[in-house]
């Protein structure tokens, strides 16, 4: 067992004449927080979509734990322990917070039709466990008091938390977060940063992060890859990347 969890090599994604992602390669190690940053339209989200199976990459290889997952449909990818959040939060808005977490456990619980119709003991046990786990995660995220509310009515920051909880409850090995801090206020951003730290430490999950908020990125990432126009321009430690003149010119601007 190597310590590389996700390995992306020579990933290319073309939309018509547009090369949105061009020969991108990177590795995410176990327990690592790996960030991708870069100007708008650099191709970050597209990388996510390719890795997650939402787009079929034009070429390239994606390996999860040594197994190729290139071109698998997204639900199969998710079953491999690779789940994501979305740039615009995608909750089941009319379902309750609790139900959002129950749906996420769908692949892990007793779903037999007859079991449920007859309320067999194994079914009940499985439902109880699912509820238990959901409750635990709500506690962890500090949103238990909203458990029975419709998810769409939650404040934005809480929705973000719920979305992360919904991913975590599937026991992923790699968590992919697409701009999790967008729309949060500074206070909430700081809480988010602590949360990511905590997740990694307590749940052995690697994190692949896209974010434009530099304080967050610099605060939580182990390594950072900078993309521009579909190509990685540098990969390195936060401190290195921050001072890289190319990054400053293309992305950060002079402060």
């Amino acid at each position: 067992m190597t310590d590389v969890l996700l390995e992306v090599s020579e990933l290319t994604m073309r939309f018509g004449g547009l090369l949105a992602v061009d020969q991108v390669a990177f590795q995410v190690k176990r327990d690592e927080v790996f960030a991708i940053i870069g100007p708008n339209g650099a191709g970050k989200t597209t990388v996510f979509n390719c890795v997650g199976g939402f787009y079929k990459p034009s070429s390239g290889n994606i390996m999860m734990d040594g197994k190729p997952i290139t071109g698998l449909p997204s639900h199969k990818v998710a079953q491999q322990g690779l789940v994501r959040t979305f740039q615009n939060v995608r909750l089941f808005k009319n379902l309750t917070v609790l139900e959002n977490l129950l749906v996420a456990q769908h692949t892990r619980i007793q779903t037999g039709l007859l079991h449920g119709l007859l309320k067999l003991p194994s079914y009940r046990r499985s439902e109880d466990e699912a509820l238990q786990r959901a409750g635990d995660w709500l506690d962890f995220m500090g949103i238990r008091q909203y458990a029975n509310r419709e998810a769409g009515n939650l404040a934005y920051g809480h929705q973000r938390r719920l979305e992360i909880a919904r991913c975590m409850i599937t026991k992923p090995r790699l968590l992919m977060l697409d701009e999790p801090a967008a729309g949060l206020n500074p206070q909430e951003k700081r809480e988010l940063q602590q949360l990511i730290d905590q997740l990694r430490k307590e749940f052995d999950v690697a994190v692949l992060l896209i974010e434009h908020d530099m304080s967050l990125v610099m605060g939580v990432s182990d390594r950072i890859m900078v993309m521009e126009n579909g190509r990685p321009i540098t990969t390195g430690l936060p401190a290195e990347v921050r001072c890289d003149p190319r990054v400053i010119k293309a992305y950060l601007g002079e402060e």
Partner: protein, 409 residues
């Protein structure tokens, strides 16, 4: 006010334009020639009514509704109220046939069949959010399964019933498999196409299905193997002979009704449980956001297919029952209009609301029956009722709180 008068005048003028070519100027034919028989009164009266309505009544209603709008939030049925209501409805349903005439019981049986269909389609449209305009196809499959098994192999109702459900489910599965990746209205039209194809096949496979004439003489369910009929087929004893009753058609009708009630209750129970089960949650989640579902590892095709198949199965059971009630099946009973009616039941009920479906099935079956009194105005009234109902209760007759598990907080 001046503005109001102007608007009312315009509306009255338009009413004139609308009425004139249909009612005002009747086409009459003499031999091979047509000419017109104008009736100006009807046009003028129509215009006057619209004028008055626009000028006086509408502002009045507007004010009325404006006040109401403050409390526009619909009364949502709570869990216990819902249970109470269902209990009440069921009790009424059980004693009902013993206090009314056969015509009423007969209609009530039809209502129960529509309840079954409504509950089935409710799963597909209300929960899984798949707009299915060809639902009637599965209904037809169920009905014909029984009819054909009877016709070609002499099967009885109780033997054929499970097979009718299974057959419809199979059709749902097989047809659903390729098309469920279509979105929204494209799915709607493809399902409509499937419904039509099934109907057309039934018409054209003359040798097998009897074509447009269908199959008649289908027996009603037996009571423990004894037919309920005036004359038994050779070699069988009728139920009334067995117990020594005088044959009364009322009994047959009531028996049929009670069977339908049992089946509808079963459907209610199953759909009620299923939506609280993981699969039910998955349907709803999929309706809300397919991409998010996929990102959590749910296989959308499989989830959709389960809804589609289960809905089809309900339709199949309803179909077998329909065949038994009518004693006859023919493709005419399975036109698109029928799908539309079932869909209307679901929507009018308040998507996803089971009590709503029951009420809507009653309303939409009974209204056209009552409207028979108005002879040729029957369908006119029915159409109008559909439009008005939608305006009156766009959220459905009885929206219920979504059933959901709760967590202590």
């Amino acid at each position: 006010m001046g503005n109001n008068i102007k608007n009312a005048l315009i509306a009255a003028f338009m009413a004139g334009v609308i009425i004139a070519p249909v009612f005002g100027l009747q086409i009459a034919r003499v031999g091979m020639q047509t000419h017109l028989e104008p009736d100006w009164n009807i046009i003028l009266v129509g215009m006057a009514i619209v004028f008055v309505f626009q000028l006086v009544l509408r502002p009045f209603f507007a004010r009325l509704f404006a006040k109401k709008a403050v409390k526009r939030a619909l009364p949502v049925l709570s869990d216990s109220a819902r249970r109470g209501l269902i209990f009440l409805l069921v009790s009424i349903a059980i004693i009902f046939p013993f206090f009314t005439g056969r015509a009423q019981v007969d209609i009530a049986t039809l209502v129960l069949i529509y309840i079954m269909l409504g509950l089935g389609l409710n799963i597909v449209v209300g929960f899984a959010g798949l707009l299915d305009l060809g639902f009637v196809g599965f209904y037809a499959v169920g009905a014909y399964t029984y009819a054909l098994l009877f016709h070609w192999a002499g099967w009885g109702f109780w033997q054929a019933l499970p097979l009718a459900g299974a057959m419809a489910a199979l059709f749902g599965f097989v047809l659903g498999f390729p098309v469920l990746r279509l979105r929204g209205d494209y799915l709607a039209i493809v399902t409509l196409g499937f419904g039509e194809i099934i109907r057309l096949l039934l018409i054209n496979l003359y040798g097998l299905t009897g074509g447009p004439d269908g199959i008649s003489g289908i027996p009603k369910p037996t009571v423990f193997g004894f037919p309920m009929a005036r004359r038994a087929p050779e070699g069988q004893t009728t139920f009334h002979d067995l117990v020594g009753w005088e044959f009364a058609t009322q009994d047959v009708i009531v028996f049929l009704y009670l069977m339908a009630l049992a089946l509808a209750l079963l459907a209610l129970f199953v759909s009620n449980r299923v939506i609280r089960m993981p699969i039910g949650r998955a349907w709803e989640a999929l309706r809300e956001d397919e991409i998010a579902c996929r990102s959590l590892g749910l296989n959308p095709t499989r989830v959709k297919l389960s809804a589609f198949t289960m809905g089809a199965m309900f339709a199949g059971l309803g179909g077998a029952f329909f065949a038994a009630r009518q004693g006859l099946v023919n493709p005419e009973s399975f036109t698109f209009m029928e799908s539309a009616l079932i869909l209307a039941i679901v929507v009018l009920g308040g998507m996803g609301s089971q009590v709503g479906v029951i009420l809507a099935a009653i309303v939409l079956t009974v209204v056209p029956e009552i409207a028979r009194e108005f002879a040729e105005y029957r369908m006119l009234i029915f159409g109008l009722v559909m439009v008005l109902m939608m305006m009156w209760r766009p959220q459905g007759l009885l929206p219920v709180k979504r059933p959901h598990v709760e967590l202590k907080v």
